[in-house]
């Protein structure tokens, strides 16, 4: 790592960061509605976003700074195994094409803001809805923490904060500032802030990747040389491979499938989806969102370029920022760092809003203050969004980074366990609410215990949470723990549903009806959020 502060890069970084901050505060006035004190406005941007805004918002939301740092980092460290992110993001879209429009419709008919709202309405069970809400909050917190880790990595390479300073206050000051800014505009502008900033973030990211993927290979002598030197490194180290070896096929496939199933269980993905203005916006987005997957694939290749260019870091998370610093002129390195930094702010804002909505709707309103007015709901949500971020910050500053990564890994396993209740519930009312709750509990416990028992393959000192793969019972191959837990979860749910139905256990009241799942904007009972003139013209 170069010593000292890279002045030009830092200047560009600070400039772009400030520009985005102004944008974040201005967002409060963007497409403003009359009833600005409702949770629909603050937490879902008035449910008014069209195809392009939704595209940017979802893209900014799902492809986080952490993704941009972690995916190439995994390639840098292990080769082929890290590339599972590409099939993972390919499989996501056919999935959401199938189930998300139904969730959109039923949420619009009944005013649901979170997935737990739907689960409560569908199964008439506050317990199940609480389980889904808690899982969502638990899984989101470490995810926010990782976004801050992403910012830290960039600051570290630029030579400010992080390991460059020994004084604890100076060390964390830049992160604290970035964090304070984020918290302030999320509080004042709600979901509109990340939606607007996502435009800048994506523009920057696309520019950086387009340049990186053309410029760096030319400077390094072409892909042939890049892959040759990567192969050499993996062979010499005896770890990692250029192509997935047969023994790792199960791991690769289960990771891709399990992660794809889990992605749209995360509260922040759902928040971004529900903010769109019609069913069609979602379906149309599944056809254009894969552009991001392509970008992710190209980005992953940067991991190999880092090897070829001789980047040598003990923490693979620093590989890509370091590659940028080494290869790019200072000013463009600044642009690249800003892209990663801003790339962390967008998802962190959406995640904290999503977690806050879950708390407000499914814990505060359901259990503490059932008669809360929309104004009170919004107020609580705003405050909780702050608390959630402070929590994430404390997490990052007080604990070892590996703790955040471990929890994120667990979060993925946990959130997948809400799939049967949510997606199952969207298509059938056959599952029994208590069976779903039991299945969820079994999946959570199995997943946590299995992950706890994984020792790190590279670090002998780390005996727990060393990875997300374990032997699949009965098959004997290594596979993603989350998916195994999910299969167990479904099995328990099905068996217990038969049992509970035989015992005639009370089913709970379903407040939805079949036509709710196919309703579209403009249908009776689906509020049209656009100004009447525009909405009328489209019919």
């Amino acid at each position: 790592m170069k010593d000292g502060v890279n002045g030009v890069a830092l200047g560009v970084f600070v400039f772009l960061f400030l520009a985005v901050t102004v944008l974040g505060f201005l967002a409060a006035r963007w497409r403003k509605a009359e009833n600005e004190h409702s949770l629909d406005e603050w937490g879902l941007g008035g449910r008014s976003f069209g195809t392009w805004i939704t595209w940017f918002l979802l893209g900014g939301d799902l492809y986080t700074a952490y993704t941009f740092v972690a995916v190439p980092a995994a390639i840098y460290a292990a080769g082929a195994a890290g590339f599972f992110a590409v099939p993972y993001t390919i499989l996501v879209y056919p999935l959401i094409f199938t189930f998300l429009p139904r969730l959109w419709s039923v949420s619009h008919r009944h005013g649901y803001v979170t997935t737990s709202d739907f689960v409560r309405g569908r199964f008439g069970s506050k317990g199940l809805s609480l389980a889904v809400a808690l899982t969502g909050i638990l899984a989101t917190m470490p995810y926010i923490a990782l976004q801050l880790v992403g910012i830290q990595a960039v600051l570290d390479v630029m030579g400010i904060g992080g390991s460059a300073d020994s004084n604890w206050f100076m060390k964390d000051l830049p992160l604290l500032i970035a964090f304070g800014v984020l918290a302030a505009y999320t509080y004042s502008s709600g979901l509109r802030a990340p939606a607007l900033i996502a435009f800048v973030k994506d523009a920057l990211i696309y520019i950086v990747i387009a340049v990186a993927i053309i410029y760096i290979p030319i400077k390094l002598g072409g892909f042939e040389d890049i892959f040759a030197s990567a192969n050499e490194k993996f062979t010499k180290a005896g770890a990692g491979a250029l192509v997935s070896p047969p023994a790792a096929h199960w791991t690769y496939a289960t990771l891709a499938l399990g992660s794809a199933l889990a992605l749209f269980m995360y509260p922040h993905s759902i928040t971004a989806t529900l903010s769109s203005k019609s069913r069609d916006v979602i379906r149309r987005n599944t056809t254009i969102l894969p552009l991001y997957s392509l970008m992710l694939g190209l980005l992953a290749l940067l991991g190999f370029m880092a090897i070829k260019s001789g980047v040598s870091v003990t923490n693979p998370q620093l590989a890509i920022p370091q590659l940028f610093e080494n290869m790019f002129p200072s000013w463009f390195a600044g642009v690249a760092f800003a892209a990663i930094g801003i790339g962390a702010l967008v998802p962190a804002a959406i995640m904290s809003i999503a977690a806050a909505n879950l708390f407000t709707r499914n814990i505060y309103k359901d259990f503490i203050k059932p008669d809360a007015t929309p104004e009170q709901e919004t107020k609580v949500s705003k405050l909780v969004s702050l608390l959630v971020k402070v929590g994430a910050l404390v997490f990052v500053l007080t604990m070892d980074k590996t703790v955040a990564i471990n929890f994120q890994l667990l979060g993925g396993i946990w959130i997948l366990q809400t799939f049967p209740a949510l997606v199952g519930g969207l298509f059938t009312r056959w599952f029994h609410r208590w069976a779903l709750l039991a299945g969820w509990a079994v999946g959570m416990v199995y997943g946590t215990v299995a992950a706890y028992n994984v020792a790190s393959p590279t670090n002998a000192a780390q005996k727990h949470f060393g990875g997300s793969n374990a032997e699949i019972p009965g098959i004997g191959e290594m596979g993603y723990i989350g998916l195994t837990a999910f299969v167990l979860n479904v099995a328990v749910t099905v068996v217990l549903t038969f049992a509970l139905k035989a015992l005639k256990a009370p089913e709970g009241v379903d407040e939805t009806e079949p036509s709710d799942y196919t309703a579209d904007a403009g249908d009776p009972g689906v509020a049209v959020e656009l100004p009447p003139a525009t909405a009328g013209a489209s019919h």
Binding site: A80, F83, V86, P87, T89, I90, L91, Y93, P94, F97, T98, G222, F223, E224, D225, I226, F227, L242, V243, S244, P245, P246, H249, Y252, A253, A256, L257, R283, R284, T286, T287, I288, P290, L291, S293, L294, G297, L298, L301
Partner: protein, 83 residues
Amino acid sequence: MSEVPEVRPPVVTPVRVIIAVCLIAPFVAMLWVGSYARTDPTLIGIPFFYWYQMLWVLISSALTMTAYKLWQRDQRARRGGTE
């Protein structure tokens, strides 16, 4: 609820089968890792393993697009038929 038995179009139609195939194909292709875990043929120096999966981003995107268009047409036909 009307007394007259409604003439409902069948649930499974050739168009819907095509839609299902479009949506399922990426799963078969991507989860069958053995079919693409090799180095050759390379494309501008990039091993098959990598460029093949990136190619599938485009293929699956085209398939989802097809499914979307077919679904739209299916829904329009149904709405036109019942009204």
